[in-house]
Amino acid sequence: MKQFDLVVIGAGQGGLPAAALAARLGANIALIEMGEVGGT
């Protein structure tokens, strides 16, 4: 089973900057999106 430091659910305009900064801070991240990235 894969383990991640941070799982971000939703790749919209809030999830994306959260994932981007968390990655820059060194975290290992899963970014999950059920529709299209970018949000509505």
């Binding site: 971000v8 809030g14 999830g15 968390a22 990655a23």
Partner: protein, 399 residues
């Protein structure tokens, strides 16, 4: 399109026959799709090469505070962020689901301009789409349950906006509650109650724009220990949920459902989750805008809200009709209204209806963020001839 059709002659352009101008929605939608695709490609462009980010497509469901199932695949999350946004609120109007309706998403994907459209909802989405389709040539009716369009905005300005939309030919019905929907031949009929009387509104299409709700379904939030309240996910000022290892941000938290709020929340959550930074959100100053023409933008309190909060207030107003720049670009409709604490002079709110109101409001935003008075706005030098001079004018009148 409407500018070319209606105003080219006024600006000295000759050789255009307004009766021969027509609008091709399919081309406009294709252009929009290309812009959206460029944005989406740009996002994949930085996600995919980032070796710290694993992109998974699917519906996520917590099975415990640290276990998440993504379409059958099981992963472990030391910490999580819920950033699932919002969706159109469930339709409460009997018959509407059966006869079919458009959401704002659908209304951006039509291939043909409908001859007539009923817009249910007098908020951001409702009035932006109402004006857009009216300008495409659709016969538009807005049914707003509230007696005001944009009911949280400064009434003086939203009433003016309603007049502008009416003058453009939109049928603006205020205090109009849609009670049921039926199909009548090729048309959709919305039975509507206005002042206790039943009225019938008939159109080819119906846009349902009566609010959005946090997207919390199917996430297994109970198993995660994340509590949901009437507004959305319950969070503290560090955006942590009721589960110690889970944060949430943006629309799913309810309140001010704006993209710019979610974008603001994102880095705060990352710092708190990864660095335990203890950053807190500051929602004192969240601006908002309606992208109509003229645009309506606001930040902070309305005059009535400031009075209700116990402030003694000073009010400063200015009219775009007095701006040389507004005259030059032919957009003189609108006004500015600023509210300040009469005792300290601190700016409490700013409201702008007019050309580029969505840009102009940021002067007020930065002043308010610094807990400023109107002084910096009216003492600083503003470029002439700009619309920004009107911000200075309205601020000056606060004295």
């Amino acid at each position: 399109m409407h500018l070319v059709r209606d105003r080219a002659y006024e600006f000295g352009v000759r050789g255009i026959d307004p009766t021969k101008i027509w609008f091709d929605l399919e081309s406009a939608v294709a252009r929009k799709d290309k812009i959206v695709q460029d944005i989406v490609d740009g996002i994949y462009g930085w996600i995919k090469p980032n070796n710290r980010i694993t992109f998974l497509r699917g519906q996520a469901e917590f099975t415990s505070p640290v276990d998440i199932r993504v379409d059958g695949q099981q992963i472990t999350a030391v910490k999580s962020v819920i950033a699932t946004g919002s969706r159109t609120a469930d339709v409460q109007i009997p018959g509407l689901a059966k006869i079919g309706y458009l959401t704002n998403r659908d209304a951006l994907m039509l291939q043909k301009v409908p001859a007539s459209l009923i817009v249910i909802g007098g908020g951001y989405i409702g009035i932006e789409f109402a004006q857009m389709y009216a300008r495409f040539g659709t016969d538009v009716t807005i049914l707003s349950r509230s007696p005001l369009l944009m009911r949280h905005e400064e009434p003086e300005l939203s009433e003016r906006l309603a007049q502008v939309l009416t003058a453009e030919g939109i049928d603006v019905q205020l205090g109009a509650t849609a009670v049921s929907a039926i199909k009548e031949g090729p048309h959709k009929v919305i039975i509507t109650e206005i002042d206790g009387q039943a009225h019938r509104f008939k159109a080819e299409e119906v846009l349902y724009a009566a609010g959005r709700v946090p997207r919390v379904e199917g996430l297994g939030l109970e198993q995660a220990g994340v509590a949901v309240g009437p507004q959305g996910i319950i969070y503290d000022e560090t955006l942590r949920t009721t589960a110690v290892n889970i944060w949430s941000l943006g629309d799913v938290n309810g309140g001010a459902m704006f993209t710019h709020r979610a974008t603001y929340d994102g880095p705060i959550v990352a710092l708190n989750a990864i660095k335990d930074a203890g950053r807190t959100v500051d929602y004192r100053v969240v601006p908002r805008a309606v992208f109509t023409q003229p645009a309506l933008a606001g930040v902070g309190l309305t005059e009535a809200e400031a009075l209700a909060a116990g402030y003694e207030v000073k009010v400063g107003t200015a009219l775009f009709a007095h701006s040389g720049r507004a005259k030059a670009i032919g957009e003189t409709e609108g006004m500015l209204k600023f509210i300040a604490d009469a005792e300290t002079g601190e700016l409490l709110g700013g409201h702008i209806l007019g050309p580029h109101a969505d840009i102009l409001i940021h002067q007020v935003v930065t002043a308010m963020y610094n807990k400023g008075t109107a002084e910096s706005l009216y003492k600083s030098i503003h470029i002439h001839p700009t619309l920004s001079e009107m911000v200075k004018d309205a601020a000056k009148k606060l004295r």
